[in-house]
Symmetry: C2
Subunit: 611 residues, 2 copies
């Protein structure tokens, strides 16, 4: 059992001109109809071994670069001793920033066949408006079967399907692989996020969203070419909004402030931790203060342009490739390392279409914002823009470049630094003006902000492990962990959000228009469905990106749900967990069974799930 | 001497088909050419009298409504005793929320003639990108002459023009009439502004700005019809950005937190102030907490729609007029009081054109945001939108209404409640669905947030005056006050902003395209101008909206500048003054003289200013 959005790529790969499995769904009426997903695999965790001692011996007495090299070498050695067979995956996981090292051993299954997936319109019912919200009415569900040696895998232990829907206050466990959290941030880092970084991006992306939305109303071509960027910006906006909510509502900041004062006192009082003292926090705060000063410039000149404009990104990548390829690997910008070159080259030569109208719009908008945010009198702005207007520059760059041609890009890349340096057009020459300005603020950031924070965060984390050991959770690491909570609603905008939805709600919310359009199968089956059956529910389980497809397990050890999202407050889980509003969102398994029975008539699957 | 933007309306009123004084500027080469501004007057403050005792006697022992009535009656009596002649204006000003009452007596001059104004393109050089920023390169200057009994007013005392430009660290005084500040807000109120109100509006208006900008690129009609709303949103955005900067940068919040703790201790320690105690702050904080819960709903349903859509506003106003007109004056919504009826009626029947494409765009956008911000499952959202999409609703409302016709609106208004209630079309019926939802959240806000804050802020202000008397400034009241400071740059985005600009900078920033297009007079005169002459400068004077046209006075009592703007940080002056970044922005008088001499050849005026 997993999410529809976890097999979406598989469904897309299996589809052909006659079978649109995304729009129409998929069901294998017989075992023979189950289709293998080309790129899907399942890893089963079979063993965890503590290898802290081995790692400590290997890295003893080393610091900085030597430490990292010794650590990497030791990890590789342990992993390769653990197993190298194709059906084994071994990984040394760092917890507590080096307080603990655990070896995780997985059994790999690579023959995964899809059994059932509903239509995307009901799997992602509500679209962006409902993304990261509750109440939800989604069947974000799919079933795949693991095959071993060409036969369905037999498993003695498995989770039985609950036959009674959840209700408020029911206990709910979740086992899954949360990707990453940032809960060790200092108060200074959180204030920087709350006051500077997040609000700036929220305003910036809000304005861009408005531009893209209205651009899309100009015609069908404009709508089609801007949709992907708009979705991506909308999803980012939701994530930033959720994180910001956590920083300004509830007690997270006040709790952090109190805990930090308390912890610093304990560190100062412990003679063994003299090297950490208050100095680490002060160093982070100083770096963060500098980060505040340069954040806008770094965002506007280095981070944003390549994200906004695929065309400018090609020019930037080619230029930087030419500049970096001749340097020793360790001295290059991170994304131009040997390890990253294959992906980078693939990106440069990929023949994805360039949308010139959209390019002109986003480039002109970006330049307008650069001028506004850095100021018309700023030296960098004057170097970039001279006396021309944003619209004139954008038009000249897009109309004047030949880098829209993937073959030309491939030829320049193949010709290496020499060919690239010899090539001129308005866009790549503009990228050459931008490059030193962007590099200057980037290296200021990397040297004086990022490096200082990394070093001193490590000191703080080690002090914490020395004082608290395993009594607090380490930050998430994309590895298996169990969370617990209860089925629960919450307060939002002064109103109570109830914790459970049902099929009646789905029908009530259907407008017949995207993104609130139910598929025909649901419309046809409305009378056959028991409308009181639970569909989705919210729980206080502590999840984060990576938990997609996690089972929710009830008091009796039965599967009661399937995690597919969190509410917007759950995104604040990046910084800390606030049980008053942070909610995991799941499909109720009784809703899954009811849909399989009454809407999809997936009798073979129903029989297997509820024998 | 005043700002161009202070005589802009006069220039517009004096213009005709042959004379565009906004675009081309104005200069009266002889006294006979000076033109009278139809609506301009000048008030000279001649006397301040303390009338606190009289006011206290009149209001003694009264509270709430009776107090306010007695206060209003006593003020009217004092003002009328002070003078009723046409050339006198008397006003009782309340300071320290009633701690002090002062009677201000002004001599009125109503024959004001314009002598000189430059082209708007140089008066507002840099437009929105440079609005509320520094460095600036604007000649936001105009000269008018006061006439008395048909003759130029003779004044024995006046400010001589400095002949040397300012430099960093020069002392700078400013006399002017700052409009209003909010510096008595409690910490809870500031946190609410920082965390909830300001960020929400910033995101909302940023997105709307993007929509309007891109809407304006659809064609000349779209550009023309959306410009006014876009300018208004951009100006609001700058104001919100500036206020937010003050709340998240610098020490304002930390200072406020410390000062509040200290002040509350002193209040608690003083037996005379037992009634204030900590209770007033707690009451404000509780009201603010409720305000957080209902802010989004109040904004989206009550405050925003009429601001966004002139057409929906007509429907809302007509409906509410019908509902309110029969009630006693005191029980109506504030804007439907007898005192406000004339302006309201004028607004309803005014034949300002309705732009149907723009209306559909902003209404659809508003409904999309209502659904997103309150949630698709929200009861109010479902009542407003049913199962229809935002675009369908907006089109149906705009296409289906006849309220675009000013004559129909006038007829309905003339017919009163009966005629309005009998009239139906999709828009006014939609306003009838919206009304109870909007009223519900508005009255929740007025009763449980605003009223509680007003009452308890008054208690706090009185306690402050009892303890501190006149040792702290009262909030600004649009009356004359003197500020002081020095010519000074500041740090922004990690760079130093220098405090003085010159003519060379103006030419260097000219792009030839709006809003960075210098007028022909400047281009022609470039060689004749001494490019090193100061143009604008920044100072630490504490100003706020209302200070436009204030003279800046130097160490020798000479006029050294003319206030015309503040930097974006100065907008935070609403909450508190931060001398590290808050800057007043002025034209240097030597820049004015240089422009009058070398660009405008305004010899008669130059001779008068620098005899």
């Amino acid at each position: 059992m997993t999410n529809h959005h976890c097999v979406r790529e598989c469904l897309s790969e299996l589809a052909d001109a006659k079978h649109d499995y995304i729009a129409k769904g998929f069901y294998a009426a017989t075992a023979a109809d189950e289709k293998r997903c080309p790129a899907l695999e399942a890893n089963q965790l079979v063993e965890i071994t503590d290898v802290t001692k081995q790692m400590e011996v290997a890295t003893a007495g080393k610091s900085e670069r030597a430490f990292h090299e010794a650590e990497r070498t030791a990890k590789a050695k342990i992993e390769s001793a653990c197993g190298t067979a194709a059906d084994v995956r071994c990984q040394v996981v760092t917890l507590y920033q080096g307080g603990v090292y655990d070896l995780y051993k997985y059994k790999r299954y690579q023959d995964i066949r899809v059994v059932f997936a509903p239509e995307e319109s009901v799997a992602f019912f509500g679209g962006d408006p409902d993304n990261f919200t509750f109440p939800r009415f989604d069947l974000d569900t799919a079933f795949v079967r693991i095959y071993d040696q060409g036969k369905p895998l037999h498993t003695d232990s498995y989770l039985k399907f609950a036959t009674k829907g959840v209700k408020a206050a029911d206990i709910a466990f979740t086992s899954g692989n949360p990707g990453g959290t940032d809960r060790e941030s200092t108060l200074a880092q959180l204030e920087y996020q709350r006051d500077v970084a997040q609000p700036f991006i929220l305003n910036l992306y809000s304005e861009l969203r408005g531009v893209l939305n209205e651009f899309g109303t100009k015609g069908p071509e404009e709508a089609r070419t801007s949709n992907t960027q708009r979705f991506s910006i909308e999803n980012s906006l939701k994530a930033y909004k959720g994180r910001q909510l956590a920083l300004v509502q509830g007690t997270l900041m006040a709790d952090k402030a109190r805990a930090e004062v308390d912890f610093r006192k304990r560190v100062t009082a412990d003679p063994k931790l003299a090297s950490v003292d208050g100095g680490a926090w002060t160093a982070v705060a100083t770096a963060v203060a500098h980060g505040r000063d340069i954040f806008v410039r770094n965002t506007m000149l280095e981070r944003l342009p390549s994200r906004l404009s695929p065309l400018l990104r090609h020019a930037v990548d080619l230029n930087r490739y030419a500049a970096e390829v001749g340097k020793p690997d360790g001295q290059r910008l991170e994304e131009y390392s040997d390890a990253n070159f294959p992906a980078l080259k693939q990106q440069i030569v990929a023949p994805a279409p360039i949308h010139v109208k959209l390019e002109k719009t986003v480039l002109a908008w970006w330049l307008t914002k650069v001028r506004e945010d850095l100021g018309a009198s700023d030296d960098d702005v004057r170097k970039l823009m001279g006396k021309r207007s944003p619209e004139d520059i954008a038009a000249a760059l897009v109309d004047g470049t030949k880098l829209t041609d993937a073959k030309l890009r491939a030829r320049l890349l193949a010709g290496g630094a020499k060919a690239i340096d010899a090539y001129h057009d308005p866009l790549i020459d503009f990228a050459r003006i931008l490059d030193p300005l962007a590099r200057a603020v980037r290296s200021d950031y990397e040297d004086n902000v990022k490096a200082v924070i990394t070093k001193n965060s490590g000191l703080i984390a080690k002090a914490r492990f020395a004082l608290e050991g395993r009594s607090a959770y380490p930050d998430a690491t994309f590895t298996l962990r169990l969370s617990y909570g209860t089925v629960a609603g919450y307060q939002e905008n002064g109103r109570t959000v109830a914790p459970v939805t049902n099929f009646a709600g789905a029908y009530a919310h259907a407008t017949g228009r995207d993104p609130f359009k139910l598929p025909d199968s649901w419309i046809t089956a409305e009378k056959a469905v028991n409308l009181d059956t639970n569909l989705d529910f919210a729980s206080t389980d502590d999840i984060i990106g990576g938990n997609s497809g996690s089972p929710v397990i009830g008091r009796n050890g039965e599967a009661i749900g399937l995690i597919f999202d969190g509410n917007i407050q759950s995104l604040g889980g990046d910084f800390g967990f606030d049980s008053s509003v942070n909610r995991a969102v799941a499909v109720d398994v009784t809703g899954i069974t009811e849909a399989l029975k009454s809407i999809y008539h997936a009798d073979r699957l129903v029989k297997e799930l509820t024998p």
